[in-house]
């Protein structure tokens, strides 16, 4: 439905995106994850046809978007909820009506759709409120409602729950799920990995503007101490060494393919070594064996069948997991 091919984007001499190919299928939810500055918001603005990539093309419904008229037409089927959404001065209802009118829906039909969506999102009581008098969380809800009421073919959302509480977040993802079921293509950029892993079907992980492979396993919410560079993060009884400038609540991921499994500790540059016991072994028959290891918290590691045989591992075997501090991803 929406395809990006050879997207490269520069801000001055700085290259902020370099993506070979991305496909967003009709009726799917895709999460775009990555640290601040990884290119998530830029990618979403390009997918929303707000920015023209320096190189590359976008294909919407089989049509390559080339001209100004193409982009205007495309913007009328795609919408974006920005990370810090903007509400126009005026009432919430006026804000909701803006996009509908821009897309040619007026009169009682527009008002009906607005009332219906506000009800669905659970903010019907805000309909006549001045948009400038809303809290950050309310602004975010109205922005999402404003996007949903347009019934777009592609719904792009940049950190849509950053100011939402748990129940609002769940409600929002339910609504997004319902939109997906109606055939809407949803793309959500978020650093809340637990959330997007729960609600999304596919993932795009960005690092420095490029896509990198990432899996949803070994993802943890942690508190990162102040300072820069190498730090120690507590995860239950485990102490995990990470290298990041991020401070405060964050999500870390220990990619299963990057965890080294050994039968004893050894001298290496890896700052993280965790002792554990194998709980489960799964061979996918395609050259990948997944080990679930109790190391105080459950960790997943992937090795080859030959490594499994050579180390003579079985359920209950004690193992040591090693990973470099720099390989631990921080979101």
């Amino acid at each position: 439905m929406l395809r990006a091919r050879g997207i490269e984007h520069h801000y001055g001499p700085r290259r902020v995106l370099d993506i070979d190919s991305l496909d967003f299928e009709t009726g799917s939810i895709t999460a775009v994850v990555g640290a601040n500055g990884s290119g998530k918001s830029t990618l979403l603005r390009i997918l929303a046809f707000l920015e023209i990539p320096t190189n590359g093309s976008l294909v919407l419904d089989g049509k390559t978007i080339r001209t100004r008229a193409d982009r205007l037409a495309a913007r009328r089927t795609v919408t974006l909820v920005e990370q810090r959404p903007f509400l126009f001065s005026g009432t919430v209802t006026a804000n909701m009506l803006y996009g509908l009118r821009a897309r040619g829906c007026r009169g009682s039909e527009a008002k009906r759709r607005v009332a219906e969506t506000l009800q669905l999102v659970g903010v019907a009581d805000l309909a006549d409120r001045d948009a400038r008098a809303l809290s950050e969380g309310e602004v975010q809800k109205i922005a999402v409602a404003r996007a949903l009421t347009l019934d777009p073919k592609v719904l792009l959302m940049d950190e849509p729950t950053s100011a939402a509480d748990r129940s609002s977040t769940n409600r929002l993802y339910q609504l997004v799920g319902e939109a997906r079921d109606r055939g809407v293509t949803v793309v959500i950029a978020s650093h809340r990995l637990e959330e997007v892993y729960r609600w999304s079907e596919s993932f795009v992980s960005l690092e420095g503007g490029r896509t990198i492979p990432v899996s949803p396993e070994n993802v943890f919410r942690v508190e990162i101490p102040a300072g820069t560079g190498s730090k120690e993060v507590r995860l239950g009884d485990l102490v995990i060494h990470v290298v990041t400038d991020t401070t405060g609540p964050a999500t870390i991921a220990l990619p299963p393919d990057d965890l080294i499994v050994s039968t004893g500790s050894f001298s290496s540059s890896a700052r993280n070594q965790f002792q554990g016991r194998i709980q489960r072994i799964t061979d996918d028959g395609r050259g990948r064996v997944t080990l679930r290891i109790d190391a105080g918290v459950e960790l997943v590691a992937r090795i080859t069948p030959s490594a499994l045989a050579e180390l003579a591992l079985s359920v209950g075997s004690p193992v040591v997991l090693s990973i470099k501090a720099m390989t631990v991803r921080v979101f």
């Binding site: 009328r76 795609v78 919408t79 974006l80 959404p85 001065s89 996009g99 821009a102 897309r103």
Partner: protein, 231 residues
């Protein structure tokens, strides 16, 4: 000191008695100021919008030129317009010199940079998310610009008021191209200049009070409008 007090007393008398001269001059001044402001804003606001919201080669130079033109000496504008409208000038055939239209032409030249520069500043200060939000909701470029104008409406209105104030209070150009002809091109400012040079302080003060009253009225209206918008 007494002549000032006496001047004030007679000025109030002139205004309250509905003096035909005072009211005729005031009416002409308002007509010229309104016409000039409307024309200047019709030209200046779109220029300010383009300079303030679009990226093009020479934009910074355009902004510098606009800002420089804010300080254009009014007598220079008067002389240039006089040169254009005088019988031997390129537009001499129109017969506009020493008519109120000549004053309007000069005031428009003076007010366009004000409307343009203040509009550019107003729209530049608007959150860039306004335009992006409008576009992502499906607005075309014009509708998106209109959304920007809507968010900048108070600053744009202030630009209009400042332009109005400039043309209402201007004297040099009006004197040169209008000629200060009684009942034809005598405005509040040129009449004040004439009355004070003739020693008629009462009339000068009376007209000065009317000028101040007009400026005050326009600004109070602006404040009321802004207050209602922010309520």
């Amino acid at each position: 000191m007494d002549f000032l007090v006496e001047g004030f007393r007679r000025a109030v008398q002139l205004i309250l008695s509905g003096d035909a001269d005072v009211f005729g001059i005031t009416a002409l001044s308002i007509k010229i100021a309104l016409s000039s402001t409307v024309l200047a804003c019709l030209v200046g606001i779109p220029i300010g919008f383009v300079v303030g919201t679009t990226r093009f080669w020479g934009r910074r130079a355009a902004l510098t030129v606009l800002n420089t033109m804010l300080a254009f000496p009014t007598v220079v504008v008067g002389v240039v317009i006089w040169g254009l409208l005088t019988r031997n000038g390129p537009f001499g055939g129109l017969g506009l010199l020493y008519t109120w239209w000549a004053i309007v032409a000069a005031e428009v030249v003076l007010a366009v940079p004000i409307a343009a520069a203040l509009t550019a500043a107003a729209v530049q200060s608007i959150d860039p998310r306004v335009r992006r939000t409008a576009l992502t909701l499906g607005a075309g470029p014009w509708r998106a610009q209109w959304a920007v104008a809507g968010e900048a409406r108070f600053a744009l209105l202030a630009a209009v008021v400042v332009a109005f104030g400039r043309v209402l209070a201007e004297v040099g150009a009006a004197m040169i191209v209008g000629g200060n002809i009684r009942n034809h091109t005598r405005t509040l400012t040129t009449a004040v200049a004439l009355a004070s040079s003739q020693g008629d302080f009462a009339l000068a003060i009376a007209l000065g009070l009317v000028l101040l009253g007009l400026a005050l009225t326009v600004n109070v209206l602006l404040q009321l409008f802004q207050g209602r918008g922010h309520a």
